[in-house]
């Protein structure tokens, strides 16, 4: 018993001694820091997520102060904090809309599997075995590497087996984008609701045979869009978010349900009926005009 008490006393005394030395030393060797650094740090997210590329939030604050990083370097902190940092630095507040991550795949159960992968539960590992268990070489594997990478609980594996982002929680820090071995996750403006959820660059049959929800590059959406906001680029439809107004016409004509939010069968039928009625009306008008012409 005496041994234990002696050990506790000696080590406690050592610890207290070192603590005392350190606290005295911190006063003696105190370095005057730029107060702005503390102020900037208080406006960063404080998650030490590393999304900015600097070692922790302290490193990011120092880099912003030194002018090596933009005031928007911390994506998770959001535009309000970026504006506050800009004020500290004496710069104009940055403009720009909040961005969130989006997974460009909606394959899930519709994507055909070549084999059942039973290895390490990690997307990168899965892609190393015969180029991954999916027929589609672009699709989401659903092993959740992005879910593990997310520090904010915004990523999850959705009901159909592909990763989905919760736009409310997403801070656009970029961790998931780096974690995805297939590069499926991109930033999209938070206010836009219509997205192409496919990244398959193959066309026609090659894209059709591997997945039920793949974009085959047919271009129906491109013809349907009244705002010239969606185009087939390299075999996959891409939305120009500057032009998109969110009318969802493209979702109703997509034969592959590759554009989110998915239109239900009823909506599609309804839209088809409207289109048919419009076409008949136009044809009738044309006919009437032709009949009227010879009389004149």
């Amino acid at each position: 018993m005496g041994n234990i008490i002696a050990a506790i006393a000696v080590l406690g005394a050592l610890g207290a001694l070192f603590g005392l030395i350190l606290s005295v030393a911190s006063k003696i060797f105190e370095v005057k820091k730029d107060p702005r650094e503390e102020a900037i740090l208080s406006h960063l997210a404080g998650a030490n997520c590393g999304g900015c590329g600097y070692p922790g939030c302290g490193g990011c604050a120092a880099a912003i102060l030194a002018g090596n990083a933009p005031v928007t370097a911390c994506a998770p902190a959001g535009p309000d904090n970026a504006a506050a940092i800009a004020e500290i630095m004496g710069m104009a507040a940055p403009t720009g809309e909040r961005q969130v991550a989006f997974v460009r795949c909606n394959g899930g159960e519709a994507a055909k599997k070549r084999f059942e992968y039973v290895g390490v539960h990690d997307c990168l590992s899965a892609t190393k075995i015969a180029a991954g268990p999916l027929d589609c070489r672009f699709g989401c594997l659903g092993f959740g590497s992005c879910v593990n990478a997310c520090q904010f609980g915004a990523m999850s594996i959705g009901p159909n087996g592909t990763a989905v982002v919760d736009p409310e929680k997403c801070t656009n820090c970029g961790a998931c984008m780096k974690a995805c071995p297939r590069g499926l996750i991109t930033s999209v403006p938070a206010s836009k609701k219509v997205h192409v959820a496919c990244a398959n660059l193959d066309k026609g049959k090659a894209a059709m045979s591997v997945c039920g929800n793949s974009c085959i590059g047919c271009g129906l959406c491109e013809k349907e869009c009244k705002k010239d906001a969606i185009h087939v680029v390299n075999g996959v439809a891409v939305i120009d978010y500057d032009k998109c107004v969110g009318c969802k016409l493209c979702t109703k004509v997509c034969p592959r349900d590759a554009i989110l939010p998915k239109a239900t069968a009823e909506e599609k039928e309804k839209y088809k009926a409207i289109k048919k009625a419009q076409a008949e009306k136009a044809a009738a008008a044309k006919k009437a005009a032709e009949e009227a012409a010879p009389q004149a």
């Binding site: 000696v10 070192f18 060797f29 370095v31 070692p55």
Partner: protein, 195 residues
């Protein structure tokens, strides 16, 4: 004879009993901070510095506090305490006195707090029964051995970029293979006897 003993400690710590390649201590920073030669040199110098100082301070703590009080079995705990406070103290001191060195060492200095090579060297000092001078020499030369190993390794890793190895070895696998081959090469030094 003293000088010969110091020389044999030096040769042993740098080559034959290299901390990384034959004792497997400090492998974490060895693999983690060896992507560029510049940072590897920074880490190596910082480790050398801390190992030398930790050897000196821990020798004093062990000889004049732990052994007289019959508390030698608490060495590990006491040494961790000493090393952690020492690194903190050095960090504060450098920030004030030598800001250039402080920024050069950067994040590596606090990282050393949990480096097992530093704890290893002070425990080995006790195990080998070294006196004060021998302890300090062993600490510094052990650090130099670490410096040599990490700089060589970083140079190889820089060149690996141009090497044509299977893609699945990218990153840590090829680093571990390289480290293994280097350890084999350093095995050639075992049994080295000058005196």
């Amino acid at each position: 004879m003293e000088i010969f003993k110091l020389l044999s400690i030096t040769l042993g710590a740098i080559l034959a009993n290299n901390f990384i390649f034959s004792q497997f201590l400090g492998c974490c920073p060895f693999l983690g901070v060896s992507k560029k030669v510049d940072t590897a040199v920074g880490m190596g110098v910082a480790v050398t510095f801390v190992m030398g100082l930790a050897s000196a301070v821990c020798f004093v703590v062990n000889k004049y506090i732990l052994i007289p009080l019959d508390l030698a079995y608490m060495q590990t705990v006491a040494f961790i305490l000493v090393i952690a406070s020492l690194v903190q103290f050095i960090e504060m001191f450098l920030q004030k006195a030598m800001p250039a060195l402080y920024t050069a060492l950067g994040v590596y200095l606090p990282l050393i707090t949990t480096n097992c090579a530093v704890l290893g060297v002070v425990l080995l000092n006790v195990q080998n029964g070294y006196n004060f001078i021998e302890s300090v020499v062993y600490g510094i030369t052990g650090g130099l051995g670490f410096l040599l190993a990490i700089v060589l390794f970083a140079s190889i890793r820089e060149r690996l970029v141009f090497a044509d190895y299977p893609k699945c070895w990218d990153g840590f696998p090829i680093a571990l293979i390289t480290a293994g081959l280097m350890a084999l090469a350093f095995m050639g030094f075992s049994g080295l006897k000058v005196w």
